[in-house]
């Protein structure tokens, strides 16, 4: 069900998960297909490619703009429910085969092109390296100007005092954000927009506003301390700078930022690394058995962002996969929570090397294990976040596994905590965490300790997945439940 782009599709999809409207359905050769009777005369032809190398693919002759459409969802549900109508079939019908083979050939071509890129020094490299360098320099100048302008605005703000900020509303922030978009600094723009919401966020807002302004200032200063656009051959050795460039007197002569902090700053500003190039780089790749810890979608206006958290069994390293979908569409990438997959991940540089891109999957996902070995106490979780802040001071949270914790609703409210089963230490749950997830967590625990995966940050802890305590008879292995 996690494939559905929104609640409405989920609902209509599950309504179609009944044998009624389906005919000519079958499964085989890594795909599921069927004819779905809709309101019109001709039935919709629906095909889902399950074993495609680039994640599941959907094709349906219906006019819906949603993706995947309700027919594809219904078909999948029906199939996964083991319904007889979608039995194993010896042959794929022609109409389905046509699309399937087309899709798989395209995927193979792309894969081949990627492989070429790896050996031939970048298949997607622009034809003219000189022009690319000029573009990068132009952008660098533009961002530098933007960061300078932002610094000026922050200075003005603090000269006048934050006291009036709650009366000023969003408009001033939005305008500044728009200026940063013009300056091609998306990262700055996003942070500024979030700043606009703080004065309305309840008691303690001046403190939060100052903290975020200061971090913004730190980021702008950080960028100004870089000298020049990112160049692969220009990894400089710099003197160790404590806590970023901000502690250096402004305007003074500064040594350039060291790596990997410089890359972190670039990433935070909005300069991204090309994924194809990254995947082609054997240095960045890491093969492991990756346990899928959680998957979450967030709707950010025009964009749906999907976050998938992984944990490497051998490397003992967390990883975050990001994928995006345009409005109304689900991001394509999907991995079953709780499963484990043997795959290559390519890690983006900077920001504590958390973000990664999924490379080759060597085997299909297999059932995973409860990540007890990855977990720790509440204190360990805070320490992990603290350590991660050394690499990236702009981090809001860090993925951690808590073992042996009990969810505690603290009345009245309730406001929630996750408390160590042994001892007095507890982590408050972040205030914006959904209540239904917390009740589910409490229900799963039944007052007993369990393993929880989530993000630990300065706002508190946000639980994503729980491994329920083993049944009393000890027969069933703990199963991952997405909260």
């Amino acid at each position: 069900m996690a494939l559905a782009p929104d609640a409405a599709s989920r609902k209509s999809g599950s309504k179609l998960a009944a044998p009624g409207p389906w005919s000519g359905a079958g499964a085989g050769a890594g795909a599921v297909w069927g004819l779905c009777k809709g309101s019109g005369k001709t039935a919709y032809r629906t095909v889902v490619d399950i074993e495609g190398e680039e994640g599941p693919g959907y094709k349906c002759s219906c006019p819906s703009r949603k993706f995947p459409c309700k027919h594809a969802l219904g078909l999948l549900l029906l199939w996964s429910g083991g319904a007889e109508v979608v039995g194993a079939a010896p042959a794929v019908p022609d109409w389905a085969e046509e699309w399937l083979s087309g899709r798989r050939q395209r995927a193979e071509k792309r894969a081949a092109a990627g492989a070429d890129g790896a050996t031939g020094g970048g298949g997607k490299e622009p034809a003219d390296p000189e022009a690319a360098r000029r573009r990068a320099e132009k952008r660098h100048r533009s961002i530098t100007a933007g960061a300078g302008e932002l610094e000026q605005r922050l200075t003005d703000l603090l000269r006048g005092g934050l006291a009036g900020a709650d009366q000023r509303g969003y408009a001033a922030w939005d305008e500044t954000a728009a200026r940063m978009v013009d300056a091609q600094a998306r990262g700055l723009a996003d942070r500024i927009r979030e700043l606009g919401a703080i004065p309305a966020s309840g008691p303690g807002w001046p403190e939060r506003l100052l903290a975020e302004c200061a971090l913004l200032h730190l980021l702008a200063q950080g960028y100004l301390a870089l000298d020049g656009p990112p160049e692969e051959d220009a990894v400089r050795e710099g003197s160790a700078v404590r806590d970023g460039a901000a502690s250096e007197p402004a305007g003074g002569v500064r040594p350039p930022l060291p790596e990997p902090l410089a890359t972190t700053v670039r990433t935070r500003i909005g300069l991204t690394v090309d994924t194809a190039k990254l995947l082609a780089d054997p240095e960045a790749r890491q093969r492991d058995e990756w346990l899928v810890l959680a998957q979450r979608d967030t709707d950010e206006g025009k964009l749906t962002t999907r976050r998938i958290w992984l944990y490497g069994r051998r490397t003992r390293q967390p990883a975050l996969l990001l994928s995006f979908g345009a409005a109304g569409r689900t991001p394509q990438q999907w991995l079953p929570v709780g499963a484990s997959l043997d795959a290559d991940l390519a890690f983006y540089p900077g920001s504590g090397r958390l973000r990664a891109a999924l490379g080759e999957q060597h085997t299909p996902p297999v059932p995973g294990h409860e990540p007890v070995d990855a977990g720790g106490t509440v204190t360990d979780a805070l320490a992990a976040y603290g350590a991660a802040l050394c690499d990236d001071p702009w981090l809001d949270s860090w993925p951690v596994v808590l073992t042996n914790v009990v969810p505690v609703p603290v009345q009245p409210g309730p406001s929630w905590q996750l408390a160590d089963a042994d001892g007095d230490a507890a982590l408050p749950v972040a205030p914006d965490c959904g209540q239904s997830a917390l009740w589910r967590l409490l229900s799963l625990s039944g007052g007993a300790p369990l393993t929880v995966f989530g993000e630990c940050g300065h706002q508190g802890f946000v639980p994503h997945t729980a491994w329920a305590p083993t049944a009393a008879d000890g027969t069933a292995a703990p199963e991952a439940v997405l909260l």
Binding site: V85, A163, A471, A472
Partner: protein, 556 residues
């Protein structure tokens, strides 16, 4: 930045602004630098808070876990629990999952499964929004459901384990809802022994809903103890609370309750008096019932000659309605003022007869059976009132013999019935109910059948199912639109035996349009039958999943 400035000082400086006061460090940039360092340091150095009081562990639930496919099905049913939205919309050919949730829960409870812990909050939310789900949801939620509900005020209804008010053990049972089957007392508060100090304290200090739940729970184990509990504080309760408490005595009413109820006839509140009288009248051996019988006997009698000479020999019923409603009658719960449009004597008569034990009448009418009594002619146009009163009495006293006599032959013209046939049927044994309903539908079609079908037990018997499907087919061939029968269609989806799906499958084909039929009706009928068939298949699948069968027998 040699000395660290405290965070609070930085915040104050930022709030004031550099124009009003020189910030620490001397400049705005220095202030921002210091704030950045301090922010990161504070974040990196966060310490755990002290844990609050942990919840007590939930009690063990030893019921079997759901089979995998059934657990998956529950997720789907709960995700679609809000139904298909507006009732006016066309429903298409796919099953309405929201309507299947109640029977899924009933079937799961019958097999003694426990709800998956992760689904428990969704289940409770669903039952919070739909009262018809509550009895089954409460059972399914089990001990962990109670444990969880105690921590969330939104789920308080779970703690009110009152099968009496939810499942309908009262006289109105089954009239408006499809019978649910037996419901266990899921929500008895823990440790409720009737003489327990804790029970007394909860009774004396608890919230109203907690007290009702407590009373019901105690009554269920020991009716007399419940009564003692209620008597402790009776005179101090508010009138509306007295009424509710009295009403909760309905389940498990026995002759031992009579003295208490008799004393409640003298209550200050009129509604409390009326309820006490009603409860007493459903105890056939009570003194109130005897007094009512005495009054009714003086009003209704038999004239063995049949009146006029022409029809000599045929007995008839004569009625002399009461001429006044005296204080004693009013004390026994007779309301003196009739509703608008009814004569007051007829109104008093109906109330007397309704509260009179039906066993009074065979003796009064020379040992005739109820069937014979109801067949007697009634003099002076009193038939309608007298029979209506008997109907009310048969329903209140749950007397199948009288109900059978009064409901009449299923083929009789509709206007003839003196009472509500659905309510009378609810008194009859289920096989007889189904049989009566099948013959009623064969005679009258479906237009009046909805409420009658509503009281028939699940799943419908073969004969009843056939009668409904035949009637639907007749309606289709007559050229009407299916949504005129959407109520019955909906019931059929829920109540027909799932095994009928294959027999019905041919109906889903688009029929030829009858010449005088409504345009397009054929394809709408086909769609409606498709939905019927697919719902039945889905139900069969649901049941197979609950039996733990991996490959569902959809029987294609």
């Amino acid at each position: 930045m040699e000395t660290t400035v405290p965070w609070s000082e930085l915040v104050t400086a930022a709030l004031l602004g550099a124009e009003r006061r020189t910030p620490p460090g001397g400049s705005v940039t220095a202030l921002l630098d210091a704030a950045a360092v301090e922010t990161v340091r504070r974040r990196a150095g966060m310490l755990p808070t002290t844990a609050g009081p942990r919840p007590d562990p939930a009690p063990e639930d030893h019921r079997a876990p759901l089979p995998r496919a059934a657990a998956h099905r529950l997720t789907l049913l709960l995700a679609n629990r809000w139904g298909t939205g507006g009732s006016g919309g066309r429903r298409g050919a796919t099953p309405d999952l929201a309507e299947l949730l109640p029977q899924w829960l009933a079937a799961a409870n019958e097999r003694g499964y426990r709800v998956p812990d992760a689904q428990l909050p969704d289940l409770l939310d669903a039952a919070r929004a739909r009262t018809d789900l509550r009895p089954q949801a409460r059972t399914f939620a089990g001990p962990r459901g109670l444990w969880l509900a105690r921590q969330n005020p939104e789920w308080k209804f779970v703690l009110r384990g009152t099968p009496g008010s939810d499942a309908g053990t009262g006289a109105e049972a089954g009239a408006d809802a499809v019978p649910d089957g037996a419901v266990g007392p899921a929500g008895i508060p823990p440790g409720a022994g009737p003489d327990d100090e804790a029970v007394h304290r909860l009774w004396d200090e608890g919230l109203f809903s907690e007290r009702v739940a407590l009373l019901t729970a105690v009554r269920q184990r020991d009716p007399a103890a419940g009564l003692t509990l209620l008597a402790r504080s009776w005179s101090k309760e508010r009138a509306e609370d007295r009424l509710m408490f009295l009403d909760s005595l309905r389940g498990g009413l026995s002759p031992e309750d009579e003295p208490f109820l008799e004393s409640a006839l003298g209550d200050r509140s009129r509604t409390v008096r009326a309820t006490a009288a009603e409860l007493l009248s459903s105890l056939p051996g009570s003194a109130l019932a005897a007094r009512m019988a005495e009054r009714a006997r003086s009003c209704v009698g038999v004239d063995p000659t049949g009146g006029g000479a022409a029809r000599s020999g045929a007995a008839r019923v004569v009625v002399e309605a009461p001429h006044e409603c005296d204080a004693a009658m009013q004390r026994d719960g007779v309301t003196p003022k009739p509703p608008a449009g009814r004569g007051e004597r007829a109104w008093w008569l109906v109330q007397l007869v309704e509260a009179t034990p039906l066993s009074t009448w065979p003796e009064r009418f020379g040992d005739r059976t109820p069937a014979e009594i109801t067949a007697l002619p009634v003099a002076d146009g009193w038939r309608q009132d007298l029979h209506a009163a008997w109907c009310l009495a048969a329903v209140r006293q749950r007397d199948p013999e009288w109900a059978r006599a009064l409901v009449g032959a299923p083929g009789a013209p509709l206007a003839d019935g003196p009472g509500d046939p659905a309510k009378l049927l609810a008194v009859l044994p289920s096989a007889e109910r189904a049989d009566w309903a099948a013959r009623f539908i064969a005679a009258h079609g479906l237009s009046e059948a909805f409420r009658i079908l509503g009281v028939c037990a699940l799943p419908w018997t073969a004969a009843l199912g056939r009668a409904v499907v035949d009637a639907l087919e007749i309606a289709r061939d007559a050229g009407s639109y299916p949504w005129s029968f959407s109520g019955v269609m909906g019931l059929a989806e829920r109540c027909l035996d799932p095994a009928d799906a294959d027999r019905l499958a041919p109906l889903a084909a688009v029929p030829d349009e009858p010449e005088d039929g409504a345009p397009g009706a054929g394809s709408y009928w086909s769609e409606a039958f498709q939905r019927l068939v697919s719902t039945l298949r889905l139900r069969a699948e649901m049941l197979a999943e609950l039996r733990g069968e991996e490959v569902p027998a959809s029987g294609g």
